[in-house]
């Protein structure tokens, strides 16, 4: 049971962050699901591998919440692809998420290294 619980926590944590990462990625312009996954992987220098099982539900959820919108467009692969795009609400959400994230990083940093007043830049 304990194992299950921590797993659930990790997913929760990841979900919030994943949304932020997706929104952040879409700031560069419309992109399809696979492209988003690749972008996150590349910018994180392969540290973050997003599972499709998490990515697509996150995309659909964000779309349902109106953070992103989608549209079918032709792609470079000669077939239609579903392109996601940031909405106004998504922009605002991204700003909010980002500041929340910064706050959290700072808080966690203080807890982990209480000696230093500010985490090294």
């Amino acid at each position: 049971m304990a194992g299950k619980n921590t797993e659930a926590n990790r997913i929760d944590l990841l979900q919030g962050t994943l949304d932020m990462l997706i929104l952040r990625t879409l700031r560069w312009g419309p992109q399809h699901g696979h492209g988003i996954g690749q972008a996150i992987r590349q910018t994180s220098e392969d540290l973050l591998q997003i599972e499709r099982g998490s990515l697509y539900p996150a995309l659909h959820r964000l779309e349902a919440r109106g953070m992103i919108s989608s549209e079918w467009r032709s792609s470079d692969l000669n077939r239609r692809a579903k392109y996601y795009q940031l909405t106004g609400a998504g922009e605002k959400e991204l700003v909010a998420e980002e500041s929340r994230w910064k706050l959290m990083v700072r808080a966690i940093g203080r807890v982990m290294r209480p000696a230093q007043r500010e985490p090294a830049k």
Partner: protein, 912 residues
């Protein structure tokens, strides 16, 4: 319309599913393209892309879950899938629905009727406050005739309570008056007295109608409003008040076509004129469920209408020792029934002592209260026990039906292990599979419930018809109220959910690997089989209980029919006439009855006719008999016409029969039966002996001995005296029964007789026209009802149980196909395979029978009073019950056994 909507919804969903698939496909393609770019071969890239993607199916399900509409779509999908699987197995579906419907339907029907008879509140205001007053006297000493202290006579009903106590709701009027005029526990006390059927003439047309006498505060206390005119007031009971009558709504509608002008008209009741003053509210059917009086009269007119002796007429409202009036009270707010009983009892005891009762205090009757909210309890007393027995039987049926469903669903779930395993391994969530199975169970439960309600509606009408047993004034409205309906539906749903889920849990706990491999015994759990066996044994046990009951009741009926009547019941028509109620008095009465006898005998097709005070085999009266030397005895008696013995075919063994010369003024004579002669004149010829009988006592000479004839069907022959009705004054309050022997079918003559009677006496209505045989049958209603119902239930139970047994044996055989195949490959013959299966059936049956018989032994005392001439261990009864059960279960098991014997070992083993 719904279909169209559904289609559109479906199309939308399909479109969205297509989108989803395309999105996933694109991802796979993009990934593969990327890998190709990185230098992998095309094939390798595609395979890798797919491998690294993860569970496509699960993702698809997850994404679908997220859509708002999905639960409905999913439900539609589940329902469609469920219907399809059920259609593939129509026998299973039909059996499950039918078992459920029968179980629920019969339970609801019985409950509805019980509710109407036993529990439903009277349609009056605040029925919960009403209490019925009764008295109880301890068991009289064995000698018999003593009345409880202080009670001279009771005009009403005294019945035996548990432990031989005597109970009665009848009180003397002065006690009622004293309570009415002042007490601390009741806000109001009112009185009523059922007068039974009286002659009611409307514009010269005489007919019988139910009459109830009520005190002036009756309607007001009950909170009944008039539908027309006014109801009865206190002033209507004053001496000298003009007689008024209140009609029941039903009677007003039937007899006066609901005409408002009926109020103010004059009708004659028992020959006395009354003015109709009003009509009671439609919902008020009287205070006894099941019997609805047609007319309410002020109780003060009772002496005028009913024929009482002069002394009784005077003392009706003053005699403290004459118990006759029924009463109810309304509890004051805050007073408990216990407190009211305590205080009223003290008052009643004081009343008895004050009126000069002597004897030990323990002999005094004590007062007790009974909740009156559901009306008088005569109906309850009469039917509650049979209804409870019925309820148990129906409960058994419901249990058997549920066990059946459980069994069927268990077997099905086990048969679908493979399917479940496939679905689970393809990534379906466990919850998803459970939901699917649940939907399927509900698909069974819903039609089961609906069909059950239909059965309930028809069944309750049928039951009331059975309970009424041909009595015309039995009014119960067979309504299924919504509580009962909801309850039935709840049971249907709960059964579906419970028995659908339990196997579903079992099924989804499948260990996918062995189940997929198709091995028949790999993942099989012994526990499941054990549960099925227990269910089967329980079903057989319950069935054997019902079968045993049915055999007992059928046997009882047969025993009663086999009773030697002692008279010839065939081709006898009977009816009753009450000239007293039509106003004939004293000597006119006997003259009238003589005239009728003569008139009947003159009719074509009539070979004999006689009057009797009590109808044969239905009712009789008792009298003490005093012999010379002050020897005392007890005998039944009947006063009959001179041709009675000849008409009824009762042979005279010694001496002579009564004759037309035995009239008033001639020496009083009597004919006694054989049992009488044997009891009081053992070894002697009683002809010529004298004895005193009846209250007088009248000194009579015995002139003959007749063969024994039944006076009460289920009782042994007892000493009996016949006297000529012409030698005693005819009672005014009681009519005479006429027996007419016909040469052809008696009912063919009924119209002629009715016409003749109408000519002879237009003002005296004819009652209870029936053949003697029908009258006897009529008295057996309860026995017959039980035999029929119990037989029906037993057949039902046995059928359902056999279906269940068939199902589980068929399942067991299919499960053991591999094993049977091996046995046959090793040389087992078809016969030994059949025996192998049948042995299992037999084991289950014997186990069930053993449990059933043990249970039956336990409950036997509860139904003993309904039986006649059978013992529990009766070998014939036992033989029939056991035989029936074994034959039916073996029949149920034979088809699967045959199938087992036809197993092709090659096929069976290849499958392994």
């Amino acid at each position: 319309m719904w279909r169209l909507f559904w289609r559109r919804k479906e199309r939308d969903a399909d479109l969205r599913d297509a989108d989803l698939d395309e999105e996933i496909e694109f991802d796979l393609a993009a990934e593969a393209a990327q890998r190709v770019q990185a230098g992998t071969s095309r094939d390798e890239a595609e395979r890798g892309s797919r491998r690294d993607f993860g569970n496509v199916q699960l993702l698809r399900e997850d994404l679908r879950e997220m859509r708002g509409w999905t639960w409905l779509e999913r439900l539609g999908q589940d329902v469609r899938y469920g219907v399809r699987t059920l259609r593939k197995n129509p026998l299973f579906a039909a059996m499950a629905v039918l078992s459920l419907a029968l179980g629920i339907g019969s339970a609801t029907a019985i409950y509805s009727v019980m509710d109407a008879v036993l529990f439903r509140a009277l349609p009056v205001s605040d029925p919960g406050e009403l209490v019925i007053l009764n008295w109880r006297a301890i068991k009289p000493p064995a000698s018999g005739f003593t009345q409880p202290a202080g009670i001279d006579s009771v005009d009403g009903s005294v019945y035996n309570g548990p432990g031989g106590d005597r109970l009665s709701p009848d009180f003397p009027w002065p006690f009622f008056a004293s309570l009415r005029d002042g007490n601390d526990v009741f806000s109001t006390v009112f009185a009523y007295k059922d007068a039974g059927q009286l002659t009611v003439s409307v514009q010269g047309q005489a007919e019988l109608g139910g009459v109830e006498f009520v005190s002036g505060n009756f309607f007001e206390a009950l909170g009944i409003n008039p539908a027309a005119g006014r109801l009865i007031y206190d002033s209507d009971n004053l001496a000298g008040a003009t007689g008024v009558a209140v009609l029941s709504y039903g009677y007003w509608r039937d007899r006066f076509a609901g005409d408002a002008a009926a109020v103010g008209r004059t009708i004659r009741i028992g020959g006395v004129p009354f003015t109709i003053c009003g009509v009671a509210a439609p919902e008020f059917f009287g205070i006894a469920p099941g019997s609805a009086p047609a007319i309410y009269l002020p109780v003060g007119t009772r002496p005028k209408v009913m024929a009482f002796s002069v002394g009784e007429k005077i003392s009706l409202f003053t005699d403290a020792h004459f118990y006759w009036t029924d009463m109810m009270g309304r509890l004051r707010p805050g007073i408990t029934m216990a407190r009211a009983e305590r205080e009223t009892d003290a008052r009643f005891r004081q009343f008895v002592i004050d009126h000069g009762a002597n004897g030990s205090r323990a002999d005094f009757p004590s007062l007790w209260l009974e909740a009156g909210g559901s009306g008088l309890d005569s109906l309850r007393r009469q039917y509650s026990k049979p209804l409870y027995v019925l309820m148990y039987m129906v409960g058994f049926i419901l249990a058997i039906a549920c066990a059946n469903i459980a069994n069927l669903l268990l077997a099905r779930a086990a048969a679908r292990r493979r399917e479940m395993a496939v679905r689970l391994s393809l990534g379906a969530g466990r919850a998803r599979v459970l939901r699917q199975l649940l939907t399927e169970s509900l698909l069974l439960a819903l039609p089961g419930g609906v069909l059950g309600l239909a059965i309930a509606a028809a069944g309750s009408r049928f039951l009331i018809w059975l309970l009424a047993g041909g009595s015309a004034d039995f009014h119960l409205r067979p309504t299924l109220d919504w509580h009962v309906a909801a309850f039935a539906f709840g049971v249907a749903m709960a059964t579906g959910i419970l028995f659908g889920l339990a196997p579903a849990f079992e099924a989804t706990r499948v260990d996918a690997a062995p189940a997929l491999k198709g091995s028949r015994d790999g993942a099989e759990r012994v526990r499941g089989i054990g549960l099925k066996r227990i269910l089967a044994v329980a079903q057989i046990a319950l069935s054997s209980l019902l079968v045993l009951g049915a055999v007992l009741f059928v046997r009882t009926l047969a025993n009663i029919h086999a009773i030697e009547l002692g008279f010839e019941a065939k081709n006898v028509l009977t009816f009753s006439l009450n000239a007293g109620k039509a106003g004939y008095k004293g000597a006119e009465l006997n003259a009238f009855y003589n005239r009728i006898e003569a008139r009947l005998r003159a009719l074509r097709g009539v070979s004999g006719a006689a009057a009797s005070a009590a109808p044969l085999a239905r009712r009789f009266y008792r009298t003490p008999a005093v012999f010379p030397g002050n020897r005392k005895g007890l005998a039944g008696w009947n006063s009959v016409g001179s041709t009675f013995f000849e008409t009824m075919g009762i042979p005279i063994i010694l001496g002579r029969a009564l004759s037309s010369h035995d009239v008033k003024g001639a020496a009083p004579v009597a004919v006694v039966n054989e049992a009488f002669a044997k009891a009081y004149f053992p070894g002697r010829n009683p002809v010529g002996e004298h004895m005193g009988i009846l209250d007088g006592p009248i000194d009579v000479t015995i002139v003959g001995v007749s063969a024994n004839a039944r006076e009460a069907l289920k009782e042994p022959f007892s000493p009996f005296v016949y006297i000529s009705y012409n030698q005693i004054p005819a009672p005014e309050w009681r009519g005479m029964d006429f027996e007419i022997r016909t040469s052809a079918a008696p009912l063919a003559l009924a119209a002629d007789i009715q016409r003749a009677m109408h000519e002879a006496a237009p003002d005296v209505p004819l009652g209870n026209v029936a053949t003697q045989a029908a009258r006897i049958e009529g008295s057996l209603t309860q026995e017959r009802t039980f035999a029929q119902l119990c037989t029906a239930f037993a057949v039902l139970a046995l059928t359902i149980a056999c279906i269940g047994l068939y199902g589980s044996m068929a399942y067991a055989v299919s499960r053991r196909t591999g094993e049977i195949g091996i046995r046959m490959a090793l040389g087992a013959q078809g016969g030994s395979v059949v025996w192998m299966v049948m042995r299992e059936v037999l084991t289950l049956t014997v186990a069930g029978l053993a449990v059933g018989v043990l249970c039956a032994r336990g409950v036997f005392p509860a139904v003993k009073s309904f039986l006649f001439g059978v013992r529990f261990g009766d070998p014939v009864v036992m033989g029939w019950a056991v035989g029936l059960l074994i034959v039916s279960t073996l029949a149920a098991g034979y088809a699967p056994a045959r199938r087992a014997a036809r197993v092709d070992p090659v096929k069976a083993l290849r499958h392994e």
